[in-house]
Amino acid sequence: MGLAEAAALPWYVELWRAIAGTVLIFSGVAVVAAMFGVLLERKISGWMQSRLGPKHVGPQGLLQTIADTIKLLQKENIVPRNADATIFASAVLVVPLAALLDYVVIPFGTTRWGPLIFRDLNIGVLYFAATSSLVVVGILMAGWGSNNKYALIGGLRSASQMVSYEIPMGLALITVAMLAGSLSTVKIVDAQAGWWYAVEQPLAFLIFLIAAVAEVNRVPFDLVEAESELVAGYFSEYTGMRFALFQLGEYGEMFAMAAMAVTLFLGGWRGPVLPPVLWFVIKLYALIFVFMWVRWTYPRFRIDQLLNFAWKVLIPVGLLNLVVTAFFVMVVHR
């Protein structure tokens, strides 16, 4: 992976390295983010509501998600008669793939040979913004392809919500890129050797976190799925493994957002004593815990409140924050 940049490796070595890295990241996301994430979500939800959560499969219910996956594998694969079969089937691949592509630019740690990252792209942050914007297309495809009223309303709501929150997220990304003077994620982590950007830029951090929660359609911004009104939103019609792939995409995207927040604002893998990868994991799970905590703390927004919040609060604040930060950077530099 992003280890020692040996210039003259033969092409098949590079090919196998790339394939091995992909398989590693894919299985990591599937097991650590999706399977363990679902379990964690259920356990933490249980803990916050003073109940136990899954308990019976394996020790303390640890194998619950594996049992769920095996169950989903045996489920029937139903395509509704009225659905548009091509779009219905391909949406399943678009959503998880767009989420997975985010992981290319996330530095998980550092070793003696250099940062542990799939590829340190020159335009890392922009790449992240671009790939996560592709999720919207997948969601619209799923919502429209199902030919189901709940699914279509969920898809449309989701699309307008996600595009609205892309703007404040972009403003937060730009603020960080301006401070670090680079779009590469590794350089941004390096620039946080002194202070974390969460300390220098608490406002941008807050904006990024709020936008991240909205981008992954979680409570309090989950009116896309709003189970009490829209059943399951855009994936109402999906059964069995296709449903599981949407879950993979959703949890993969959530972990990617948290990992990006760690990289941009919490100093990435940096930390004393413990090995860098461990630090990264600790910070990642701390943020994931915050996401789950928020879920059980706030009620769901209405769509007008949600869009107002993006356009009339977050974007003006983000713009102002950018200008003020730029001003201070200029003053300090003179």
Partner: protein, 118 residues
């Protein structure tokens, strides 16, 4: 640089294949039934009336319209942000003018009610 993107391309291709694998598995092992009501559109148990492919409200369009314009504005800030630390105060005033015009657009959309969900 091309090597980097070669990796990304392989990531995309292999990732698609890996994501498609469970679909192949269920195609092989999942049960099939020909019970016709299973293929009905789900509407909480009530038979669905008409298609979902009906018309929707124009509000969705207004938001995505404002979004496209702002998204384009933001892409111009990325290259600006990269060079800002090395550039002089000129960069700051450039950005100020740029954002002032952008803010005019936001204020206009706000005043005209394009950001209202009514």
């Amino acid at each position: 640089m091309l090597l980097d993107w070669g990796y990304v391309a392989i990531f995309a291709i292999v990732g698609t294949l890996l994501a498609a694998m469970p679909l192949l598995v269920i195609w092989l092992i999942s049960p099939r039934s020909d019970y016709p009501q299973k293929f009905e559109t789900y509407e909480s148990g009530v038979p669905a009336i008409g298609q979902a492919w009906a018309q929707f409200n124009v509000r969705y369009y207004l938001f995505s319209l404002v979004f496209v314009v702002f998204d384009v504005e933001i892409i111009y800030l990325y290259p600006w942000a990269v060079v800002y630390r090395k550039a002089g105060p000129v960069a700051f005033y450039d950005m100020l003018v740029f954002l002032a015009i952008l803010t005019l657009g936001l204020v206009y959309a706000w005043r005209k009610g394009a950001l209202e969900w009514v």
